[in-house]
């Protein structure tokens, strides 16, 4: 009884709070100062058609580097805690259904293509390295579910991840020497806004981020997958 009263009181308090928030809310009828700057200067300074990408990769590029580092740390901790199947005993797996196997064969290449499309076109259309990488990892997990006995190439994932991470930081440092500062994208020619080969280093950085995030998430899921059999 006392618990129910507490829950009702809590709900009432939250309701009051959120009602005030909704009641006092007024949509801004013009962009604020920072947003105006981004909207007016992105095309000239960065050359991306997608302003969100310009903010994520260039104006706030250091934050993206931090996010990638956090993801790397997570993957490293999971790899440290889950050692995988070390018993050497072949695990017994139930055969997955014919439906799943056939569908995985047809759909997985398309999922990989979509993932690559998302991060290659990150500077033109919505999406980018993180989204594309996550899509690629979900395609890989579909493959693992269709063929539970197969082993994912976790060593290859580690190599791809390390190389793309290093190249990302190296591109950032190249910006210090060749352009305006760390992670400046104008080390490559900016090109025409809207072209695939435009926006300087942004597409290169997003391809690297996509490969890194994809291999990190895929390696993480493959670790969980390989843990399933042993006791």
């Amino acid at each position: 009884m006392a618990k129910n009263i507490a829950v009702i009181l809590l709900l009432l308090a939250m309701g009051t709070l959120f009602y005030n928030l909704a009641d006092n809310f007024q949509a801004a009828d013009s962009l604020n100062e920072t947003a105006t700057y981004y909207a007016e200067n992105t095309a000239d300074e960065v050359g991306t058609a997608n302003i969100v990408t310009a903010i994520v990769v260039t104006y706030r590029g250091l934050d993206t580097l931090g996010e990638v580092t956090i993801l790397f740390l997570t993957a490293a901790i999971v790899a440290f805690l889950l050692k995988g199947n070390t018993s050497g005993v072949e695990r017994e797996t139930r055969d997955s259904s014919e439906l799943l196997k056939t569908a995985a064969g047809v759909i997985t290449p398309l999922i990989f293509l979509l993932g690559a499309y998302i991060f290659i076109n990150g500077h033109l259309t919505p999406g980018g390295g993180f989204q594309g990488g996550a899509v690629i990892a979900s395609g890989l997990i579909l493959l693992l579910l269709a063929k539970p006995e197969s082993k994912a190439a976790t060593g290859l994932f580690a190599v791809v991840e390390s190389i793309s991470g290093l190249a990302y930081v190296a591109l950032g440092i190249a910006g210090i020497f060749l352009a305006g500062g760390f992670l400046d994208n104008s080390i490559l020619p900016l090109g025409k806004v809207g072209d695939l080969m435009s926006a300087g280093a942004v597409p290169v950085i997003y391809i690297l981020v996509g490969l890194k995030v994809g291999s990190e998430l895929a390696g993480l899921l493959a670790k969980f997958h390989s843990m399933q059999g042993d006791k």
Partner: protein, 82 residues
């Protein structure tokens, strides 16, 4: 106006699946409904013109984290809440 009605329907569905996730007896049902909350949230993000966030939410929130929950559930099964 029409989009407002759609948003309200989406939010009510999200609330319903969130409550299902808490109240369901079977953990499998809880995991599926928690994934459903993310999926509906990603549609909502798309309607609020944030396609970048919607993509991340759909791929990670409703895809990969649901799979990880299933792997962990399969691993801990046989315990108290089996």
């Amino acid at each position: 106006m029409l989009s407002n009605i759609l948003v309200i329907i989406l939010v009510l569905l999200m609330l319903a699946s969130a409550i299902t996730a808490i109240q369901a007896k079977e953990l499998v049902v809880s995991i599926i409904s928690a994934g459903l909350v993310s999926l509906l949230a990603s549609v909502l993000y798309l309607m609020l013109s944030a396609p970048d966030v919607a993509m991340t939410e759909a791929a990670i929130g409703s895809g990969l984290s649901t799979i990880i929950f299933f792997y962990v559930l399969n691993k801990v099964r046989g315990g108290e809440n089996g």
